[in-house]
C-alpha cells in the first residue's frame, strides 16, 4: 500500500472525515489509491430507503407562471369576463400592494384554448403544444400552495424551505444527503439561462447557496458565456502540459510537507488540485453540445444551438445527470406577467415548451427517466382577476400563493395523472392541497431521503428543509 494511504488509515476517522468532509475524504483516497477504495473501512452511508430517483432536474419558472393559462382549465370563466371576483371566493385573502388599492377585481378568463392530450386526457393549454406530447409522462399538480405572496420571499421559500435568507437550498440538502456520484464534477449545478426578453425578476446566489451547510454543497453556477465554470481555464499562455508540470512539483512539495507536519488536510489539498486539473479536462467536453448528434439536439428545438438559452441548458442538464451530477437546477426567468400577459406568456412558453419536451423525451429514450426526477414549478400561481386594464385581448395577473400548477416526471412519480383540484376561479384549493414543504418532502422521498431524518444542527436546532410543521410526501403521486 502507498505509504500515505497507510498513514491515512492510522488517522482518527472521525477527525479525518469531519475536517476533510466525508465526500472529499473519499475523493482523496480515490486519487491516491484505487478508485472508490473502501480504504476508510466503512460502508458508504445508504439512503433512508431504496431511492426511485438517483438524481433530479428542477426547472424553476422564476416569476410565477399562470396556472390559469397553462394547466388549470376553467371553461366556466368565459361567462365571467369583466365581472367582479365574488367576495365569498376571495374571503379576505391578502393582496399585494400592487392591487390592494385596485377598486375592483375583475375576472379575466384565459384567452387560450385548452385540449385533452395523451391517453391520460390531461388538459393542456395551446401555449404548450410540445409538453402536451409527453403529458402521459407527467404528473400535473394543480394544488401547489406557498406561504409567501411576493417574489423574493416566495422564491427563497421554494428554493430553501424558508422565506428568510440564510437556509440551505434544496440542491445543497440533496448534495449533503447523498454526496456525488462523480468526483470529477460538482454535485449540484445551477444554470441561469437568459431569454429573448429582458431579464425579469432578479435571482440571488442564496437560491442555490449552502446556507448553514458546509460550503461545498452550494450549487455551482455553470455559465453559458465565457468559461463554463469560474476560473476553469488556465491563464493565457499556460497549456495543460505546463500546468501538469507545475502541479507535479506542487504535489511533491506538499507531500513532503505532509510527511513533516502530518495534517491530513494537506492530503486533501493535494487531491483537490488533482481534481481541479481533471475538471479542467472534463468540463469543457461535457458542456460542448456539438458533441450531441443532430437528432438529439433537434428534440430540444432550434434554440439549442444558441448557448445560454433554456433549450441549451436543458440538453446540458441531461448531459450532467448522465455523468452523475445529483441535482441540476435551471432558472428560467420572465414569468411575472402582471400587466402584459398575452404579449409575454407566449414568449416564455415558446422558449421553454419544446426544451421541456426534449428533456423528457431524451431522458426516456436513454432509459434515464426512470431514475431521474424532473420538476417544473414556479414560486406561486396567478390570480383569476385582472391587474391593470382588462380588454378581451389584454390582461395581467397578480401573484397568487394559494394555487399554483407544477409537474413532476420520472424517477418514482406516477406518470399520466393529475393531482389536486381548485375551485372554479382557481383561487382556492378544494381537493388535495400540496404545500411547498410537501413538494420538498416528495422530491427528497424520490431520492431515497426521509425529509424528517435529514437534519443539520444549526444555531442549536436540528433544522430540516421542510420546516417545523408536520409534512409528508404526496403519497398518491408516488409509484
Amino acid at each position: 500500500m502507498h505509504p500515505i494511504s497507510a498513514y491515512i488509515q492510522a488517522m482518527t476517522r472521525r477527525h479525518f472525515f469531519r475536517r476533510a468532509g466525508l465526500g472529499l475524504g473519499a475523493a482523496a483516497l480515490a486519487v491516491l489509491g484505487p478508485p472508490r477504495a473502501k480504504a476508510n473501512g466503512r460502508q458508504p452511508p445508504s439512503p433512508h430507503h431504496p431511492p426511485r430517483a438517483q438524481r433530479a432536474i428542477f426547472l424553476f419558472m422564476n416569476g410565477g407562471p399562470s396556472q390559469l393559462d397553462l394547466w388549470d382549465y376553467k371553461p366556466q370563466m368565459a361567462n365571467w369576463f369583466g365581472k367582479d371576483l365574488p367576495d365569498s371566493v376571495r374571503d379576505g385573502q391578502r393582496l399585494t400592494l400592487m392591487t390592494a388599492n385596485q377598486q375592483r377585481l375583475l375576472i379575466a378568463p384565459s384567452i387560450y384554448r385548452f385540449a385533452r392530450h395523451g391517453r391520460s386526457g390531461t388538459w393542456v393549454s395551446e401555449l404548450l403544444p410540445w409538453t402536451a406530447r409527453v403529458v402521459d409522462e407527467l404528473c400535473v399538480i394543480k394544488s401547489l400552495q406557498t406561504d409567501e405572496i411576493n417574489h423574493d420571499p416566495a422564491v427563497t421559500f421554494l428554493c430553501t424551505g424558508h422565506a428568510i435568507p440564510g437556509r440551505a437550498s434544496l440542491g445543497a440538502w440533496v448534495s449533503y444527503g447523498l454526496g456525488s456520484e462523480n468526483a470529477n464534477l460538482p454535485t449540484f449545478v445551477v444554470m441561469t439561462p437568459v431569454g429573448a426578453e429582458k431579464l425579469g425578476n432578479g435571482l440571488t446566489a442564496r437560491l442555490w447557496g449552502a446556507g448553514f451547510l458546509p460550503g461545498r454543497h452550494q450549487g455551482v453556477l455553470l455559465r453559458a458565456q465565457g468559461e463554463p465554470l469560474l476560473f476553469l481555464s488556465n491563464p493565457a499562455g499556460v497549456d495543460a502540459s505546463t500546468r501538469r508540470r507545475m502541479l507535479d512539483s506542487l504535489a511533491h512539495l506538499n507531500e513532503k510537507h505532509f510527511a513533516e507536519v502530518g495534517d491530513p488536510e494537506t492530503l486533501t489539498r493535494i487531491a483537490q488540485y488533482e481534481l481541479a486539473f481533471r475538471m479542467q479536462m472534463s468540463v469543457p467536453q461535457l458542456v460542448d453540445l456539438s458533441r450531441e448528434p443532430a437528432h438529439v439536439r433537434a428534440l430540444y428545438g432550434p434554440d439549442v444551438d444558441r448557448p445560454g438559452t433554456f433549450a441549451a441548458s436543458c440538453l446540458l442538464a441531461r448531459r450532467l445527470v448522465e455523468q452523475g451530477v445529483r441535482f441540476v437546477q435551471i432558472f428560467h426567468r420572465g414569468w411575472d406577467n402582471h400587466l402584459n400577459l398575452p404579449r409575454r406568456l407566449p414568449i416564455q412558453c415558446q422558449e421553454s415548451d419544446q426544451p421541456c419536451y426534449g428533456l423528457i423525451t431524451d431522458l426516456k429514450q436513454r432509459g434515464l427517466l426512470e431514475e431521474t426526477l424532473v420538476i417544473w414549478a414556479g414560486e406561486f400561481g396567478r390570480t383569476i382577476f385582472c391587474q391593470g386594464t382588462l380588454t378581451p385581448r389584454q390582461y395581467g395577473r397578480e401573484h397568487h400563493p394559494r394555487c399554483a400548477a407544477a409537474w413532476l416526471a420520472g424517477g418514482g412519480i406516477r406518470p399520466g395523472i393529475t393531482h389536486g383540484e381548485t375551485d372554479d376561479f382557481s383561487f382556492n384549493v378544494v381537493r388535495d392541497p400540496v404545500h411547498v414543504h410537501d413538494l420538498h418532502a416528495t422530491i427528497l422521498h424520490c431520492l431515497g431521503i426521509d425529509h424528517e431524518r435529514l437534519t443539520y444542527r444549526y444555531q442549536g436546532l436540528d433544522v430540516r428543509l421542510t420546516g417545523v410543521e408536520p409534512r409528508q410526501p404526496v403519497w398518491p403521486i408516488l409509484l
Binding site: A26, N101, G179, P235, M246, S249, E452, T455, L461
Partner: protein, 965 residues
C-alpha cells in the same frame, strides 16, 4: 463520494444517542469533568425554568483561581495554567514551541492579515534579546493593518455589504461604517464602548458624527424596494433582522425561534423576543430603501479635503452676501409696506416652460431600466429637436424611466392648469407606451398613452390616467393633460418629472404648464406686489424661512421678521436695484450652484435614529406582520438580569445593560470569539449558541477567567489579543505525531498549535502583497477589482443600479486589500465566496474552511493571482543575482522560512522544465507575462519571466503558504 445521511442527524428523538456520545467524550477526557456541576444536562435538558436558571452561561462569570500544574516552567501567562491543567489531567504534554520563522509568520498573519517581509523576518531572527517575540507582537498591534484585519471578522458578524440585498439589490453606501470599525480597532476603542456606539451612538450625549456613523451596524440589514410589499411587512422584516443580529452578536443566543413561538430549548419567549425588538422599533425612517445608497436618516461624511472645501464655500457665500447687502444699502429702498393680497390670476393662460435644454440647478437624475448609453442629450442634426438646442433621447427595451428630481424652482399648480411635454416617437422604432409622471411627495401622478405595459403600483387609483392611443410618430407632438386629471390640485408643488416608455426610441423636449399663475414675472416694483405673487404661488419658490414669513398674516411679523423679509425682497426681486445687483446676483447664483453640487456629491452614511414618538410594539402571532397580539414595552429577556430601574428604556439603556458586569453572556461571547479567531475553534465551539443547545465550553474556567479579565481590563481588545498570542499555548508548534493526533484528534485540548487555511481575503491579500502590488490605503468607498464577466448580469433585475459590473482600473482600485472589494449580496465576488466567505446576508461568526477543487481553480487561474506571481518573479529578479539566490528569496517571500536542499532541487528542476517549455513556445510566454494591469518592470526575456512566474505561482499555492501553520 458519499453523503451525510447518517451523519449529524441528532434530532430531538435521538438525544439519547447524543448523550451517550457526550458520556463517551467525558470518559475519554475530551470534555472536562470538573465543570459538570455547573452545566446541568450538558448537552440538552428540558427548557424548564429551573434548569435554565442554572444553565452555565446564564450565571455571571466569577474570576477563578489559577489551577495548579506539574510542569510549572511551561506557562507563560495565566491562560497556560488552565490549558496545561487539562492536558495533564488527560495525560498529555504540550507541544514544543514553534520555530521562530513559523512564529513570526503565524502572528503576523493573525494580527495583520499579511505575511512578514523577509527583512522583518531577518530582524526578528537577529533579535536575540529576551522578549523579542513580545516586542514583535507590540509592533504588530500598532500597525494600522491590525484594524483592517480585525474589522474583517467583525464585518462578517455585522453582515456588512455594499448592496441592499433584496429585490433590485441596489447600491448601499454604508462604507463609512466599515471605516469606523477599522478605526475603532486601531485606536483600541474599549469593546464595551465599541458595542454601545454601534447600538446607540446617536443617543450618547453630544453624539459626534463618528458615533452616529457607528450605528451603521443597525443599518446593514437587508432591505427592499419592492413596492408590492406592505410597508409594515418591510418594517417588520428589517426589525427582525436587527433584533436577531443584535442578540446573536452580543448575547450569543439564537432568538429566531422565538419570533413565531416560545423557544423550544432556551428560556426565550415570544414576549422576550418582541420586547427586545421594541428597543429598535421606533426607527425614524422609511423601511424601504427607495434605491437610495444612504436611505435617510443619514449624515454627511466629508473627507478632510471636503471639510476644508465646505469652509471655503461657506466663507465665499458669506462674503458675497455681505457684498450684496452693502450694494443694497447704497440703493433705493422705497419699496412700500409689506402688505399684500393674493395676486389675481391672468385672464388668459400662457405656456410656462419649466425646463428645456438646461436642467435647473440642483436637479438630480435617477434612471430605472435605462442604460447610460441608451439615454443622452442629442443636438441637431443628430436627432430631432423641438425647441432650444437639444432634446433627450431615450432608447429602451421594455420599461425605461428617466426621472429628474429636486427641481428648483418647483412647478406650482394653479386652478385649471394643464401640463405639457413635447415628444417625438421614432417611426422606425416606436414605443408601445409613453408615460409622464409628476412628483409631489412621490411619483404617483401619471399620464399614459398607448398600451398598458409599464408597471405601476397603483392601478385603478385616480393618479394614473390613460389618454388613449400613442401620438403620431415621426413628428413633434405636444402631450397635454389637465393637472387635475392626474391628481394634482391647485396649490400642489411639483418638484420632479419622470419620462417613461415601453420599448422603442423616444425624444423628449420642453416641458412645463399652461397656466394663469403669475409665474413669469421675476422682478417687482413694490413689496406688496411681490408678496401677492408669492402668496398666489404658495411660497413655493422661496427658501423655507422666507416662505414662512411671506405666508404669515401681515400684521403678525415681528420687526426683525419684517426686516428680513424686506431685505430678501430688496436683494432678490426688487426691480429698482436690479441693475446694480444683477452681476452680484449672477455670481451668487453660480455660487449656490456650486454649493448644491458640493452637497449632492458629499458622501452620506446611513445612521440609526429614533422617532420623536415611540412606535408601539406588539407580539406578532406566528411572526406575521399583520397578526398583532398584545402590546409590549422594551425589555431584556426575562431569563437574564433585569435592566436597572433608572436605565432609559431605549437602545442606550439596552447597550449599557449588555456590557454591564452582572449580565453573564456578552463578555464570554466576545472573548470566545476572539479565542476562535486565534486558535481556530472557540472554547465554546458553538460560537453562535450559548444557549442550552450549544456545546459546553472545553475549558469553562478559562472562559470565565478571560471574560472577567477582559472586563476588569476595561474591555481592552489589544490587551486581550496580546494575552492570547503571547501565551505558551499559542506558540506551540502545529506539527504533531500520529499518536498525538489520535489522542486529541480535534485539538480541543490545545495540545498543539492550530493549522488553519487562510481566509479568502488573506489569501488574495497575501498574493498581492508578495507580488508587490498591494496598495495600502485605509478606508473609503468599496472598489471593484476585475472578476469574471456576467456574474451580476446573471442575477440582476432590470431596474437595479448594480446591474452591470464594470471593473475599476488603476492600482488605487484594483490592488486594494480584499476588505474593500465591492460586495454585492446577490452575486458576491466569487474569489471570496468560493473560498468560504459568507454571503453577508446574515450574521456569521464562524466560516467554514472547506477544501474544494473550485478553490484550487481560483488560486491557479484567477488573473490577479497570476499577476501577483509575476510580480513576485520580477521582485526576485531585481533582488538577487544568481538563480539559487533568487529561488531562495522567492521562497522566503511567501513561505517565510528558507527552503531545504530537497525543496531547492525540486524547484530548480521545475524551473528548468518550465523554462524549456516556454522557450519552445515564446508567444505563450508573452501571453502569460501580459496577464494583469501592471506592465513588466524588469528587463528580462519573457520566456524566462514566464518560467519564474509559474514557479512563483507554484509557491503561492503551496499548502504551507495557503495555511497558517
Amino acid at each position: 463520494m458519499t453523503g451525510h445521511l447518517t451523519n449529524n442527524r441528532w434530532s430531538s428523538r435521538r438525544a439519547g444517542v447524543r448523550w451517550l456520545l457526550v458520556c463517551a467524550a467525558l470518559a475519554l477526557g475530551v470534555v472536562g469533568l470538573e465543570g459538570r456541576g455547573r452545566r446541568p444536562g450538558g448537552a440538552r435538558s428540558p427548557a424548564t425554568e429551573h434548569a435554565s436558571a442554572r444553565h452555565w452561561a446564564f450565571v455571571p462569570p466569577q474570576m477563578p483561581r489559577l489551577p495548579s500544574v506539574q510542569q510549572a516552567d511551561w506557562p507563560r501567562n495565566p491562560i497556560d495554567y488552565f490549558i496545561l491543567q487539562r492536558l495533564e489531567a488527560a495525560g498529555l504534554r504540550p507541544s514544543p514551541e514553534a520555530d521562530r520563522t513559523t512564529l513570526i509568520r503565524r502572528v503576523t498573519l493573525d494580527l495583520t492579515g499579511l505575511p512578514p517581509t523577509p527583512e522583518e523576518v531577518d530582524a526578528f531572527l537577529a533579535d536575540t534579546r529576551p522578549r523579542a517575540y513580545e516586542r514583535l507582537v507590540v509592533r504588530l498591534l500598532q500597525s494600522p493593518r491590525f484594524g483592517e484585519h480585525m474589522a474583517r471578522y467583525w464585518l462578517d458578524a455585522a453582515r456588512y455589504a455594499d448592496t441592499h440585498g433584496l429585490h433590485s439589490d441596489d447600491y448601499s453606501a454604508v462604507w463609512p461604517y466599515r471605516e469606523w470599525v477599522i478605526t475603532a480597532f486601531n485606536r483600541n476603542l474599549p469593546f464595551d464602548q465599541f458595542l454601545i456606539e454601534q447600538l446607540a451612538g446617536d443617543l450618547l450625549p453630544h453624539a459626534t458624527p463618528e458615533q452616529q456613523i457607528a450605528t451603521g451596524f443597525l443599518r446593514c440589514h437587508l432591505s427592499s424596494t419592492d413596492a408590492a410589499l406592505a410597508e409594515e411587512e418591510v418594517r417588520v422584516g428589517n426589525m427582525v433582522d436587527i433584533t436577531e443580529t443584535t442578540a446573536a452578536v452580543t448575547l450569543g443566543l439564537t432568538f429566531s425561534c422565538a419570533r413565531c413561538h416560545d423557544h423550544k430549548y432556551d428560556p426565550l419567549s415570544m414576549r422576550d423576543y418582541y420586547s427586545f425588538y421594541a428597543f429598535f422599533n421606533s426607527f425614524d425612517g422609511s423601511p424601504y430603501n427607495f434605491h437610495l445608497p444612504a436611505p435617510p436618516p443619514a449624515v454627511a461624511v466629508p473627507s478632510p479635503r471636503q471639510q476644508q472645501r465646505e469652509q471655503e464655500l461657506y466663507q465665499r457665500g458669506e462674503a458675497l452676501r455681505r457684498e450684496i447687502a452693502a450694494a443694497c444699502a447704497r440703493c433705493r429702498d422705497d419699496v412700500g409696506p409689506d402688505r399684500g393680497e393674493v395676486a389675481p390670476l391672468a385672464d388668459q393662460p400662457r405656456d410656462y416652460v419649466w425646463f428645456d435644454d438646461e436642467l435647473p440647478r440642483s436637479a438630480r437624475i435617477l434612471q430605472d431600466g435605462v442604460a447610460e448609453d441608451e439615454c443622452r442629450v442629442v443636438r441637431r442634426p443628430e436627432g430631432p429637436v423641438f425647441s432650444g438646442e437639444s432634446a433627450l433621447r431615450i432608447k429602451s427595451r421594455e420599461t425605461g424611466r428617466h426621472y429628474v428630481i429636486q427641481i428648483d424652482p418647483p412647478l406650482v399648480i394653479g386652478p385649471g392648469d394643464r401640463l405639457f411635454c413635447y415628444v417625438y416617437l421614432d417611426p422606425d422604432d416606436p414605443p408601445a407606451q409613453v408615460m409622464l409622471q409628476w412628483r409631489t411627495r412621490d411619483f404617483d401622478h401619471r399620464a399614459s398613452w398607448g398600451e398598458d405595459l409599464i408597471p405601476h403600483t397603483d392601478a385603478g387609483r385616480p393618479t394614473i390616467r390613460h389618454f388613449g392611443a400613442l401620438p403620431k410618430s415621426g413628428e413633434w407632438v405636444r402631450l397635454e393633460v389637465a393637472a387635475e386629471e392626474v391628481g394634482l390640485a391647485p396649490g400642489a408643488v411639483v418638484d420632479g418629472i419622470g419620462f417613461a416608455q415601453y420599448d422603442g426610441t423616444v425624444y423628449w423636449d420642453a416641458t412645463g404648464s399652461r397656466t394663469r399663475l403669475p409665474v413669469h414675472q421675476q422682478t417687482f416694483d413694490t413689496l406688496a406686489e411681490w408678496l401677492a405673487v408669492q402668496r398666489r404661488l404658495n411660497g413655493a419658490r422661496l427658501p423655507p424661512a422666507i416662505r414662512e414669513l411671506a405666508l404669515k398674516p401681515d400684521n403678525q411679523r415681528t420687526p426683525e421678521q419684517r426686516r428680513q423679509l424686506r431685505d430678501f425682497f430688496l436683494q432678490r426681486a426688487y426691480r429698482g436695484n436690479r441693475e446694480v445687483l444683477e452681476p452680484l446676483l449672477a455670481r451668487l447664483a453660480e455660487h449656490e450652484d456650486a454649493v448644491s453640487r458640493f452637497y449632492a456629491e458629499l458622501p452620506q452614511a446611513p445612521v440609526y435614529r429614533d422617532a420623536a414618538m415611540p412606535r408601539p410594539t406588539f407580539i406578532l402571532r406566528g411572526g406575521q406582520f399583520d397578526r398583532r397580539g398584545s402590546r409590549v414595552e422594551p425589555a431584556v429577556p426575562a431569563c437574564l438580569p433585569p435592566l436597572p430601574a433608572d436605565a432609559p428604556r431605549n437602545r442606550l439603556g439596552l447597550a449599557r445593560w449588555l456590557v454591564s458586569p452582572q449580565q453573564p453572556l456578552t463578555a464570554r461571547v466576545i472573548v470566545n470569539r476572539f479565542w476562535q479567531q486565534f486558535f481556530g475553534t472557540g472554547l465554546v465551539r458553538t460560537v453562535d449558541d450559548f444557549g442550552l443547545r450549544g456545546e459546553p465550553p472545553s475549558h469553562p474556567e478559562l472562559l470565565d477567567w478571560l471574560a472577567c479579565r477582559f472586563q476588569r481590563d476595561g474591555w481592552n481588545v489589544k490587551h486581550l489579543v496580546y494575552w492570547l498570542v503571547t501565551s505558551a499555548t499559542y506558540r506551540q508548534t502545529s506539527r504533531a505525531s500520529p499518536e498525538a493526533r489520535a489522542r486529541d484528534p480535534e485539538n480541543r485540548l490545545l495540545s498543539r498549535g492550530s493549522r488553519l487555511r487562510l481566509d479568502a481575503e488573506v489569501l488574495r491579500d497575501q498574493a498581492l502583497f508578495c507580488g508587490g502590488l498591494l496598495v495600502e490605503e485605509i478606508g473609503g468607498p468599496s472598489v471593484k477589482p476585475p472578476q469574471p464577466p456576467g456574474l451580476w448580469e446573471a442575477v440582476v433585475t432590470a431596474n437595479s443600479n448594480t446591474g452591470r459590473f464594470v471593473a475599476d482600473v488603476g492600482p488605487q482600485k484594483v490592488y486594494r486589500r480584499s476588505l474593500y472589494t465591492f460586495w454585492k449580496r446577490t452575486a458576491p465576488p466569487p474569489q471570496m465566496t468560493i473560498l468560504d466567505a459568507p454571503s453577508r446576508e446574515t450574521c456569521v461568526f464562524r466560516r467554514e474552511r472547506m477544501n474544494t477543487p473550485l478553490q484550487a481553480l481560483v488560486m491557479l487561474n484567477d488573473p490577479q493571482w497570476v499577476e501577483a506571481a509575476r510580480g513576485m518573479a520580477e521582485r526576485a529578479w531585481a533582488k538577487a543575482e544568481s538563480q539559487r539566490e533568487r529561488l531562495v528569496w522567492l521562497f522566503r517571500l511567501a513561505v517565510v522560512r528558507r527552503p531545504d536542499a530537497a525543496e531547492l532541487a525540486e524547484l530548480e528542476a521545475a524551473l528548468g522544465d518550465l523554462r524549456r517549455a516556454f522557450e519552445r513556445r515564446p508567444p505563450a510566454a508573452a501571453q502569460l507575462v501580459g496577464v494583469g494591469e501592471r506592465p513588466v518592470r524588469v528587463a528580462v526575456e519573457p520566456t524566462e519571466l514566464a518560467a519564474w512566474t509559474m514557479l512563483a505561482h507554484l509557491i503561492l499555492n503551496l499548502d504551507e503558504v495557503v495555511t497558517r501553520e
